[in-house]
């Protein structure tokens, strides 16, 4: 087997989209020079629009312009249909799982998922026990990370069930593409994404507390210094709802109310973009200045909806992730459509030993982090880093998992006015209200450094427009 020399899968050459007329006829007509010019135009536009993200500890102000690449990432429609079905299946099962572990705990009682694994998760919220959110919806918004390995298979890398961000860039990237490459949009063969705001609002209103007339939804942000602040504004604007900070809200007479220039007004649904820990200083972290005192009491009495529900983090714990195929089987009696990346859970002694013996080949991840923080890439780590990593695993095995190092697929990208392959992942966004909806495509993040597989914007990543090509 030649599996030692892994060649990345190229979405343009190796994918089923290669012969799609949109790519073959229209996009190929652009010279590299022309693409580079359009790229330049896009960058000027981004700067003027102030589409930025915050970088903590950056010297020249805290904002950086969102890096964008004009070469889109295509997905064939038959492939997308399968991904869409796989995501819906997964989200449905994970919501049943959350309902269960904060309720009867059947899956733990039957020993399908180890009880200890759930109860030891930092993101498990005993405060939520016995609570069921309206319609059993825990994850109103999910942003699942997918990757395509060199074997051509699309794997689920992470379920982001808490406050996934990035959807605003999907919409902005599309707007930008229409402006800088209008020629390729003259047909209608790219699935639209523009209705996301409308659908998100519908989802929020559908999950309002029952018996509320004239529902008021708001978006709760930690404030303008948060790295996703641009997105918070953007989504509030798209939905036409108020963007609020914790200090704008108070709890009065068992209701959440916002402080307006004309007195206070009741709030029914809070799309919150702050972590569980900061929601309510009375319930979670006492030192939180971002939240609202008494919010959780109102929530548990069913008089306000929080989206996503508190406590969803336990289902995207990276150790719990390893059990998702079993979770899908248990609740839906189906096999997972989208495979997991093989995962070694370090709390299991046998798996831990394997990990410690093969550390140099594996990627080690903390179970409760996101955004690529705390990640150790075995093949790229120094001997000392590996020793530290091994010590940490032995110290606190529950806190780590390991996975084989996958090779992310590539898409041509404008680098120094030329095209070069760069690795990408994909984050589709899934809404869950009365029904499940998957936004066609999602956010394609691209690692701009040659050979790098780290796509996070905080670490040199950019993004691309994602095209689901219908009728291909």
């Amino acid at each position: 087997m030649s599996s030692l020399v892994k060649t990345a899968f190229d979405e343009y050459q190796d994918g089923p989209v290669a012969r799609h007329p949109l790519l073959a006829d229209r996009l190929d007509n652009f010279s590299t020079q022309e693409l580079a010019d359009r790229q330049h135009e896009a960058e000027i536009r981004l700067r003027e629009k102030g589409i930025t993200f915050a970088v903590y500890g950056h010297a020249d102000g805290t904002e950086k312009v969102w890096p964008f690449d004009v070469v889109p990432r295509p997905i064939a429609s038959q492939e997308w249909t399968r991904i869409e079905a796989g995501l819906k299946q997964r989200i449905r099962a994970l919501n049943l799982f959350l309902d269960d572990i904060y309720g009867e705990q059947r899956i733990l009682n039957e020993g399908v998922v180890p009880r200890e694994l759930i109860l030891s998760a930092k993101t498990y919220r005993p405060q939520m026990h016995g609570f069921r959110p309206p319609k059993g919806v825990w994850t109103h918004v999910t942003g699942t990370d997918l990757i395509r390995h060199s074997d051509g298979v699309v794997y689920v890398l992470e379920d982001n069930l808490r406050c996934p961000s990035g959807v605003s860039y999907v919409l902005e990237n599309r707007e930008l593409m229409k402006r800088v490459l209008p020629e390729v949009f003259s047909g209608t063969s790219i699935a639209p994404v523009e209705d996301y705001g409308e659908r998100l609002l519908t989802t929020l209103l559908q999950t309002a507390p029952p018996c509320v007339e004239k529902t008021t939804a708001v978006l709760l942000t930690p404030g303008m210094y948060n790295s996703a602040y641009f997105e918070h504004c953007f989504l509030a604007q798209q939905m036409g709802i108020e963007l609020v900070c914790g200090s704008d809200l108070v709890v009065v007479d068992g209701q959440v109310r916002m402080l307006t220039t004309q007195g206070s007004r009741r709030v029914d649904v809070i799309y919150r973009r702050i972590d569980d820990d900061f929601l309510d200083p009375n319930c979670f972290r006492a030192d939180s200045a971002l939240g609202v005192s008494g919010l959780m009491d109102v929530y548990r009495s069913g008089r306000v909806t929080l989206a996503n529900a508190p406590g969803t983090g336990v289902a995207d714990d990276k150790a719990v992730y390893a059990w998702v195929p079993q979770i899908i089987r248990f609740y839906l009696n189906e096999e997972a459509i989208l495979p997991n990346v093989p995962t070694y859970v370090c709390s299991d002694p046998r798996q831990r030993n394997y990990v410690l013996e093969h550390l140099a080949e594996l990627v080690v991840k903390p179970t409760n982090e996101s955004g690529g923080y705390g990640l150790v890439m075995g093949p790229k780590a120094t001997a000392e880093e590996l020793r530290d990593c091994a010590a940490q695993i032995r110290d606190n095995p529950r806190n780590y998992i390991a996975q084989p190092m996958l090779t992310l697929s590539t898409v041509p990208t404008v680098i120094d006015r030329k095209l070069a392959p760069r690795h990408v992942d994909l984050r589709p966004f899934i809404l869950y209200g009365d029904d499940l909806f998957v936004l066609p495509g999602g956010l394609t993040r691209v690692a701009l450094r040659e050979g790098s597989m780290i796509v996070n914007s905080s670490q040199g990543g950019g993004s691309k427009d994602t095209w689901v090509l219908v009728n291909s």
Binding site: R47, E48, K49, G50, G223, M224, Y229, F230, C233, F234, A236, Q237, E242, L243, V244, C245, S247, D248, V250, V251, V252, D253, R257, M258, L259, T260, T261, S264, G294
Partner: protein, 322 residues
């Protein structure tokens, strides 16, 4: 609307108006100094930031130091750059209530000033183009706001912010210039004085409108025009009247019904400006009158803040009901 948001809308517009006024101050002085009598110190006196200037730039009022202080010094909270940083920061905090074109206009304005501040040498030598662009950018924001934003509560708070700032700055310009121009003299005596008075009017873009209204240049008429004119948009009385209209749009009560302490205070100041005669102002002392006017404006600021922006008392009152 949210109190925090109303506050930010108000301040976004105050800072933009402030930047525009700094540009006006500087521009007129610049054109005067070309005529051979450079006076840089009054610019600093007018801004009220004299001690800060000495602390940051040293004792001497050279053209370059004064310009740098007023245009690009980040440590001066009222420099054009500082105003734009704060205007944009406030706008960014409330981006969702502004229309997209407004945000983009403010952001472009900010980027232009920031880029200029990175390479200031040429501008400090020849600032006229830059200053002109600042005024135009400010007017662009006003125009885009007028044309693309619903004239709802947020829009009215924006206008109140702009008008209060304008009233304050117009009166300051008049105060300083009047003092300088009339010191030791009782009336216009030379061609140079006409040039100076003309420059004062120009710094508020008032020259043509003044001529249509009063014709010849006379100190009392200039003061009257800038303080008491009911039609000129940079006159203090006009600005207060506009702010009052917006205040009533916010409270939802017609003009003249002053049930709220804020409404009462606006009505009082507006009433005074509508009835007082310029002769009696000059007799009592223009400087003293403007001093009182500034106090009156501070009262309005404080009243607006308490009634619409301050969060603490309302939050406490609301929590007390539990």
């Amino acid at each position: 609307m949210l109190r925090r948001v109303a506050d930010s809308v108000f301040w976004t517009n105050r800072y933009l108006e402030r930047a525009e006024n700094v540009s006006r101050f500087v521009d007129v002085n610049q054109s005067l100094s070309l005529g051979g009598s450079p006076q840089w110190s009054p610019l600093i006196y007018a801004s009220g930031d004299e001690s800060l200037f000495h602390q940051l730039q040293g004792g001497e009022f050279t053209a370059e130091r004064v310009l740098d202080f007023l245009l690009f010094d980040k440590r001066n909270p009222n420099s054009i750059l500082s105003c734009l940083v704060k205007a944009r920061e406030n706008a960014r905090a409330i981006r969702e209530v502004l229309s997209v074109p407004i945000w983009e206009a403010i952001n472009r304005f900010y980027l232009r000033v920031r880029d200029a501040a990175r390479d200031p040498d040429e501008i400090l030598q020849l600032p006229a183009d830059f200053l002109e662009r600042v005024r135009r950018s400010s007017h662009e924001v006003i125009g885009v706001m007028e044309a693309t934003m619903s004239h709802d509560e947020a829009w009215h708070f924006a206008r109140i912010g702009r008008m209060l700032e304008r009233a304050d700055k117009t009166s300051r310009i008049l105060d300083v210039k009047y003092f300088v121009l009339l010191s030791g003299r009782s009336s216009i005596s030379s061609a140079l004085d006409v040039v100076q008075w003309t420059a004062l009017l120009e710094s508020t873009s008032a020259l043509h409108m003044y001529r249509r209204r009063h014709g010849r240049i006379a100190p009392a008429s200039v003061a009257e025009f800038l303080l008491l004119d009911g039609h000129f948009p940079r006159a203090v009385r006009f600005a207060i009247a506009e702010a009052e209209i917006s205040l009533h749009a916010v409270t939802g009560r017609p003009l003249g019904t002053n049930l709220d302490p804020v409404e009462e205070k606006f009505a009082k100041l507006h009433g005074e400006l509508s009835t007082v005669k310029i002769d009696s102002i000059i007799q009592r002392g223009l400087h003293e009158f403007i001093d009182e006017l500034q106090c009156g404006l501070n009262v309005l600021d404080a009243a607006i803040y308490q009634r619409f922006f301050e969060i603490q008392p309302l939050a406490e009152a609301a929590s007390d009901q539990q």
